[in-house]
């Protein structure tokens, strides 16, 4: 292939994925009269605000519960990320380093639960959480997903890569099981731990079905679910407000991701058999 053609293909590919996102970003700086006047017919102002302004952001801040709901999303992110990472670390350690009957079967059973998507199993999940008395509560949202097959898989694989000589050396020096985990394993799987934490943190912004089902009070609702109720496909939606609120909602995820992503690869240097 010729070079300009290759370049064009990459440009088209990139635009296909980024243009919709930029379009939404631009929409958040419009006001409604601008949008409903220009956006429906083709001109430069289909895509860009004719009179850019931050009015939509101002209105998003005055949405009565958005700040509480945004706090709920972020708090849930921290709880889910920390909970899944800790439970996956302990389980991954046991599954990699201990020998017990049914170990492989247990690991496979855990992976198998990946094939139970929440879309399919929503009603029974609701009944289980209702029986536990956790509907309309923060823990009712969080607990069902604290066990993560992907987390267990990721961390078990990372621990498998740590040379067994390291934990045996620690063990010969008299370290107990927790001490081995802390001194021999943990420092060598920092990258996987951060990847696991970050993945499950960002993953909370994917949530829609479960909070919609299990949280009926507006105070406890997640921001993205509350914003979705502003969209009414059959009437004229206030898209500027939707996107201003949505951008405020995903901002915390981006900030945390930007802070942590440079740790993702840095710990690899300390791994390896010495």
């Amino acid at each position: 292939m010729k070079r300009p053609l290759r370049f064009m293909l990459r440009l088209v590919l990139a635009a296909l994925f980024v243009a919709p996102i930029l379009l939404a970003l631009a929409a958040s700086f419009r006001d409604n009269s601008d949008m409903y006047r220009y956006a429906g017919s083709l001109s430069l102002w289909t895509f860009l605000p004719a009179e850019p302004g931050i009015d939509a952001y101002r209105r998003a801040f005055t949405l009565p519960l958005l700040q509480t709901q945004l706090f709920n999303t972020v708090l849930l992110g921290f709880v889910m990320a920390t909970g899944t990472t800790v439970s996956s670390l302990l389980a991954g350690y046991a599954l990699s380093r201990f020998r017990f009957r049914g170990r492989q079967a247990l690991f496979l059973l855990m992976l198998f639960t990946l094939f139970i998507p929440v879309d399919v199993i929503l009603p029974p999940l609701f009944f289980v959480v209702r029986d536990l008395g956790l509907i309309d509560s923060f823990w009712g949202l969080a607990l069902p997903f604290i066990f993560s097959p992907i987390g267990v898989y990721l961390i078990r694989q990372a621990i498998e890569e740590v040379p067994r000589e390291l934990d045996h050396a620690a063990s010969l020096d008299g370290a107990g099981l927790w001490e081995v985990l802390r001194t021999a394993i943990l420092p060598n799987i920092r990258g996987a731990l951060i990847a696991c934490w970050l993945m499950h943190f960002v993953f909370v912004w994917e949530w829609y079905l479960w909070p919609l089902t299990a949280m009926r009070s507006d105070d406890g609702q997640l921001a993205q679910v509350a914003i979705a109720s502003l969209i009414d496909p059959l009437r004229s939606t206030d898209y500027a407000l939707v996107f201003a609120a949505a951008i405020l909602t995903i901002l915390p995820a981006f900030v945390v991701f930007a802070i942590l992503q440079r740790f993702l690869t840095s710990s690899q240097a300390t791994t390896g058999g010495k």
Binding site: L9, R10, A14, L16, F17, I21, L23, A24, Y36, A39, G40, S41, L42, T46, V86, S87, L90, A91, A94, R97, F98, R99, F100, L109, M110, I116, P117, V118, D119, V120, I121, P123, P124, L125, F126, F127, V128, L132, P144, F147, R164, E165, L177, V202, E206, Y208, L209, T213, V225, I227, I231, P233, S236, T237, Y239, V242, A246, A253, F254, F257
Partner: protein
Amino acid sequence: MDTTIAIRPVRLKPRLPALLEGWGPALVFLAPALVMLCLFKLWLIAEAVYTSTGTFDPGGQRIGNAGLDNFGFALSDSRFQWGLWLSLFAAVAKVPVQLALGLAAALMLRANTGGNAVVRAMVISPMFFGLPVTTFIFAYMFDANVGAVNAILSGIGLPRVAWLSTEAPAQMLVLGLSIWRDVGVTMLVFLAGLSAIPPQIANAAKLDGAGPFALFFTITLPLLARSFQFAVVLATLASFQILVPVLMLTKGGPTGATDLASFQIYETAFSYFDLGTASAMSLALLFGLIVIIALELRWLAVKWTYE
């Protein structure tokens, strides 16, 4: 196909023994994961089976046993049959398109250049916005009045489309959103598979005079078989998770065009409060999903390894 590529390394040292034998102390470490696994996966299935055999009053109290009647009722209902067909159709439409696009993107971007890294990041960027926000974006782009897509269509002289209130466009919208979001995952799977192919194989084939097409069909594609299997299973699983845009935008319509089995399950449980039937429908759909994935794992099984 049996392809062994390098000699298995000789193990010089005996394998070290495990730190610990037996269940007792292992349980301490496994406890958090095990408790959650039992409560929210195993009990979940047991609850689904138990609820599916009952009849309930609208308040959710069990008032009698129904045996397998709920399954009979759900499976003989022509609306649910249509929903199951639609779910199957979603998988059949999504998987090949997503695989083709993901593979094309991976092949195009496989070289590790700075420009490629940027384009790769852009292809996976929809994943960072979360399903609800990407659904908002599609709702806006395809809005009948102020959407950019209709603006472009009318700008180049084509008729505007009522995306959410016409049948085929509504289906395309839901599927297109799902594919757009997930192509990045498929691309990453294929990129990993491509980087695992030892370069000497391609070099040997080139020395033997293979052109780019022969190289692709006889070397690259067969050696991607394992990535292929993984990507197919992931895409199938994702094709059963397209309820969000349906719930948010189309509500199963227009005239049943997006009346997916999962949407009917949601409605049966939370609008009609028919818990027994909803659980039976959940189990039927879950069974269908697991059968499809088992078949895929079997048909696409790979018997060789690099060593």
